[in-house]
């Protein structure tokens, strides 16, 4: 009975996001994954400010001979005849360009492609999902469109399209900018379907809830209803597909670069660096392995982040 006589709660109710954070913290893999992902982003974007070697710098004349084909410094541990140089701790490539600087530059491109493509695919997926879930008339056609997109052979089509539109986009935005735009758009318009399906399902369920009826009865317009009441409630599945989207986008970009359909050869990305190293794999295995490890580490950490986020944002798991 004391509860009734004293209706004031003892402490202020906890913020929902604090609960989410508590659950997220308890998932050790997710915590480590997010730390590693943030570290990679920091290294790749802040690193070049400290390690001020131009990744495109080509040594000339005598320097070219002395600087080219240096191995990473740890090779000197077991092979005393290896050509190592403390000025280039990760070695140089066959043109004398510094591997560490190229890895950081390539990482900037790969992560920028991943983030932008993820944003585009989220935008498309949420738009289609909300429209299909909210307006009954559009539901059928939009979902058939989603099914059709899911039935397309995506990798072959991306490969074909990346070759077809390269010329025109390169002419308009320069070779690097054009390719960036091309790859981001291609990945974006081929990966929005899962998000659209999840969002539609959630919107369909939310639409029948009382708070939507309440909001509608006080005269909220459809736009406000979607923005203020529906979207915040479908945020958690969107966030989970966002993390998974980054992972697939980075892998697709690297695969394109690996197959030779990505950025121009002198413009390093992780996939491109890996591909360039394959030809001299026997003498210089690190040239393929280092970018490969970076791709795998980034994708692995993002996947763990998404795993933890999914557990943390699911209220059914959170209480336990």
């Amino acid at each position: 009975m004391t509860d009734l006589t004293n209706p004031q709660p003892a402490s202020a109710p906890r913020n929902q996001w604090l609960d989410v954070w508590d659950q997220f913290k308890s998932h050790r893999g997710a915590l480590i994954g997010s730390v590693i992902f943030l570290l990679i982003i920091a290294t790749v974007y802040v690193g070049p400010l400290i390690w001020r070697i131009d990744p495109q710098f080509l040594p000339q004349g005598r320097d070219f001979i002395t600087l080219r084909d240096t191995r990473p410094i740890w090779v000197g541990l077991w092979d005393s005849s290896a050509k190592v140089n403390w000025a280039h701790p990760l070695g140089t490539d066959n043109l004398g360009r510094d591997t560490l600087a190229r890895l950081m530059f390539g990482g900037q491109v790969s992560i920028a492609v991943g983030l932008t493509a993820m944003l585009l695919s989220l935008l498309l997926g949420t738009l289609v999902g909300v429209l299909a879930g909210f307006t009954r008339k559009l539901d059928g056609p939009l979902m058939r469109l989603t099914d059709l997109f899911l039935a397309l052979p995506l990798l072959p089509l991306i490969l074909v399209a990346s070759l077809l539109f390269r010329e025109s986009l390169s002419a308009a935005f320069g070779p690097e900018g054009g390719t960036f735009l091309l790859i981001v758009i291609l990945i974006g318009i081929t990966s929005w379907m899962p998000t659209a399906r999840i969002v539609r399902g959630d919107v369909l369920a939310l639409k029948e809830r009382e708070f939507v009826l309440a909001a509608r009865s006080i005269g909220t317009t459809n736009n406000k209803l979607i923005l203020r009441h529906i979207l915040p409630n479908v945020l958690s599945p969107i966030m989970v597909s966002a993390t998974l989207g980054i992972a697939t986008a980075i892998i697709t970009e690297s695969a394109l670069s690996f197959l030779g359909f990505g950025f121009p050869p002198d413009f390093p990305t992780w996939g491109r660096l890996l591909n360039d190293g394959v030809d001299r794999l026997v003498s210089f295995p690190e040239r393929s392995i280092l970018p490969g490890v970076m791709i795998s580490l980034t994708v692995l950490s993002v996947n763990y982040l998404g795993d933890g986020l999914r557990d943390a944002l699911d209220p059914r798991i959170r209480g336990r």
Binding site: P156, F165, A255, L259, G292, V293
Partner: protein
């Protein structure tokens, strides 16, 4: 069930037509010219004739219709002719590759066995490894085996095949010298020695593909087992005194396999897509490499046919998965 299957089959036709139209329209935009490699000394009138001989120069819808007829009407006739020695397709124009000036389907048929061998073996191996892992890690949830399995399947998800392929080449081919790094498609298996060589060269591509498949399917198997292990019928089975082995391996497993079987069916086409990259890494002379080569050489009929074959695979296995789901689970009948 039969009406459902027939309805889905009929629905698949407009889907496939739409997809073939999308592919056709996309390739219409291609800037390439099949006459680019013809010497400059050939006069323009002759070039125009050659272009017409390849079926170009007609309006778009006519060419689309011709391609449809060639693919769906003439090519099956060629197949029938090949097997039964009939002459249905005599004198009909088949889909001709611009690279080799020979029928596209002949080349595809030549390349298909290599892909099927590598991809098929990898898929079977991956499933055979994944199922026991999934079952055991669900049965002992949160044990060290489960934790290790989760980590390994996360790694399998995250390491792209073009890196794991390069990695196994560096380790097993360059440093240890156990396996050849290039898949030799001209190898004829006729005795034990060549069979051993065939096995050796298949190990690495199969491992790389199987790692990905295992990662995906063992996750599904585990989740599906976990869903079923807490059900009431499991308690009933234990309560009536059935052995633990029977409960898990018969009662739970049979129910857990329902979603897993559909996932396995759905995964087949995406594995063909993934094989494009693996084939490139190990230089397997399969349809993935054929596609890459055709795209680079601007061989549009080849690209169109191959992409469409991939699309047919996707639609077909979606259908198979739906039908299997209905057959295996009596609670789901699409009527």
């Amino acid at each position: 069930m039969l009406t459902f299957t027939i309805r889905r089959l009929v629905l698949a036709v407009p889907t496939l037509l739409f997809i073939s139209l999308v592919i056709f329209l996309l390739l219409e935009l291609a800037p390439g010219d099949p006459m680019a490699q013809v010497p400059l000394t050939v006069p323009p009138e002759v070039k125009e004739k050659m272009r017409e001989a390849l079926g170009l120069g007609q309006p778009m819808h006519v060419r689309f219709w011709k391609w449809l007829v060639q693919f769906f009407w003439i090519e099956p006739q060629v197949l029938v002719d090949h097997y039964f020695g009939t002459t249905f397709s005599e004198g009909d124009l088949r889909v001709i590759s611009w690279q080799t000036r020979s029928p596209v389907m002949d080349i595809v048929i030549q390349r298909l066995p290599q892909t099927l061998w590598v991809v098929g073996t990898a898929y079977v191996v991956g499933i055979l490894i994944a199922l026991p892992i999934g079952i055991y890690s669900a049965y002992r949830q949160y044990s060290w085996f489960d934790q290790a399995g989760t980590f390994i399947s996360m790694v399998g998800f995250s390491v792209p095949p073009f890196f794991s392929g390069v990695l196994v080449i560096v380790i097993f081919s360059v440093n240890l010298g156990w396996f050849p790094s290039i898949y030799d498609t001209t190898l004829v298996v006729d005795d034990w020695e060549s069979f051993r060589r065939q096995l050796l060269q298949m190990v690495m591509p199969v491992t790389v593909l199987a790692l990905q498949i295992t990662a995906q399917i063992s996750r599904f198997m585990r989740a599906s087992m976990l869903d079923n292990l807490n059900q009431d019928y499991v308690r009933t089975a234990r309560a009536k005194g059935l052995g633990e082995r029977t409960v898990v391996m018969v009662h739970v497993l049979r129910n857990s396999m329902i979603p897993v079987v559909t996932v396995i069916a759905l995964g087949v086409p995406s594995i063909f897509g993934g094989a494009i990259i693996t084939e490139q890494v190990f230089k397997v002379n399969g349809i993935g490499q054929l596609l890459i080569g055709a795209i680079q050489a601007n061989d549009l009929p080849m690209v169109q046919t191959l992409t469409f074959i991939f699309a047919v695979l996707i639609v077909l296995f979606n259908l198979v998965a739906d039908v299997l789901y209905g057959l295996l689970d009596p609670r789901i009948r699409y009527d």
